[in-house]
Symmetry: C2
Subunit: 340 residues, 2 copies
């Protein structure tokens, strides 16, 4: 009898916000590792905002997701069978196994995990999102003690790392997130100097007022995760020589727009000139040569508790799409993973 595995494929291109029918759960034969490859049983898979972008058939920084193929993404798991010297059965590994119960990858495309840490940390605080935050600030942040940084989606794995790294360098860190529970997490768990509830400040004008109060010396670094009214509120507060690191814009990933999204280039160019801003696109893959530096610096900070993290754990492969939709709507609090 052929052994089987489960996976979720993208069934069609979404029309605006994705829905359940855009995906299909299916059983396929368990693949066998070739020479140099490993077979892994996935224990946790990662859900990330960038996955929404890949669902469209649009050129971006990654190729679009192929239809009828396993949804791509990072995952961690345990080696079942190894045809490589690098891994032994039972090892914990990270690899791009996607939304699937099992996967086969070349051993050199996988990374062995620190057994002293929960494996899911390799998807968040010590994985791609944490590295995104670290590499963006390292390369473009030019952080100076005494400055002010603002970041939204601030309980999430990128935003919470951005804020905590900024505070470790002596900046005032202001976090934006939705709802009362997240406000408490921002200041108590992650140590932000101030927290703003974007749900209580629905448009750019209200957000500007709230940000101005939380940032009495203006904003020197705006780490862009969201777009929308938060961006509209932050832009007028940027200080001379401010840095805007454009990492994501989840508010606009499904074709939505708003007053801020419509702001004309003419105004942005003028603002860039008058304030000599730097607006810098960030993609962590550009900095991958520094991933080892990141792990060396941040792993001890996580182990010592100087950098806190938070995970939202959904259970069961079949619940992955629902957890993904919820994350796109801001329903998660920390790093969204699915435990299989």
């Amino acid at each position: 009898m052929t052994e089987m595995m489960k996976r979720i494929v993208q069934a069609r291109r979404p029309n605006g916000f994705p829905v359940a029918e855009d995906f299909r759960l299916e059983e396929v034969p368990l693949p066998q590792p070739a020479e140099g490859e490993i077979l892994v049983q996935v224990t946790h898979l990662s859900l990330d905002p960038y996955m929404r972008g890949r669902m469209d058939d649009v050129a971006s920084y990654t190729a679009p997701q192929e239809l009828d193929q396993t949804m791509g993404g990072g995952a961690v798991g345990r080696v079942l069978e190894s045809r490589s010297d690098r891994f032994a059965p039972g090892d914990l590994v990270f690899g791009m196994f996607g939304w699937a119960s099992h996967g086969v990858l070349p051993a050199k495309a996988c990374r062995k995990l620190d057994p002293d840490l929960p494996p899911s940390t390799a998807l968040g605080v010590l994985g791609m999102p944490g590295f995104t935050a670290w590499s963006g600030l390292e390369a473009y942040g030019k952080l100076k003690a005494g400055e002010t940084l603002a970041v939204a989606a601030a309980t999430g794995p990128v935003g919470s790392m951005v804020g905590q790294l900024a505070r470790l360098k002596g900046l005032r860190a202001v976090g934006i997130a939705g709802g009362a529970q997240k406000q408490a997490l921002l200041t108590e768990r992650f140590g932000f100097d101030a927290a703003i509830d974007h749900r209580a400040h629905g448009d750019a004008r209200a957000m500007r007022t709230a940000l101005a109060e939380a940032c009495p010396d203006g904003i020197d670094v705006y780490f862009e995760n969201v777009g929308g009214a938060v961006t509209g509120g932050a832009l007028p507060l940027m200080n001379l020589h401010g840095r805007i690191i454009v990492c994501g814009m989840i508010a606009w990933y499904s074709g939505e727009t708003d007053e801020t999204g419509a702001m004309p280039l003419q105004k942005i160019w003028r603002m860039a000139l008058v304030k000599r801003l730097t607006i810098q696109g960030l993609l962590q893959t550009d900095h991958v040569a520094r991933f080892g530096d990141f792990l060396r610096e941040v792993t001890p900070l996580v182990k010592s508790g100087q950098i806190a993290y938070l995970e939202d754990v959904a259970e069961g492969l079949e619940n992955t799409p629902a957890a993904f939709f919820s994350m796109l709507r801001g329903g998660n609090t920390g790093k969204q993973v699915v435990k299989l």
Copy 2:
């Protein structure tokens, strides 16, 4: 009898494109230098696009021009009377004397000129515009041999310096300017690899086609002088990790707009992210500590002819406003000065 001098003051705020009635030519008593000051007879005054911005009562990187006061600006002239050790009568100096026949300034606010060069060069190729180009490329250009740079207003004192510096570093330089005469100057006098006539490509789509032909490997550095259709044509051609240096946008200084000026932030942010662009505002005053380096590097290149320059010389203080209007409309070819 009181000795008199002539000056032009701003009489009122312009309504859109400025007109003659926005200025007033007047005679005022010749000022006398106090201790540490010099009295200068202006021989050449500078006309620059930034002056249009200062005519509005709008916060910008410089304070607005005060009404009924001498129009501000750089000028060169000869010392008539010195109450400072730094200068002797007859010395050629640069200072912010504005649109005036004479002026008094503290000696330490003036710079003595190289007597081996025409004094007007201190207003263009070896002055603020040349330094703008040099400092912008030094600080933000990250020029690499083999890359492609595009710049508009390319026979002007900023654009021609940008293109020539890029070529000296081994880049392909593409210049945009209006009219057949300027096309010839771009390639023959300034050595641009390709020239584009923006008058022959009136909208962003046509400009994009022309730029795509002139930049077969895309654009790595876009030095923004103009805004408008040139910007609209250049943006889609930006390469991965491209740099956009926002130095000016003369097309939009009098409140005009167009399709490119209206491009939504959402699209710009997405482009910045997907291509990991750097969009960087430039103002030369941020880099003034390097002015000496600039003069040391570029003066020999000007003397040897490796860097060419071009000046448009209007004559007579009373003709200054007309020359200014013409410059704002692109009627000048090189650096616009007024000889008194």
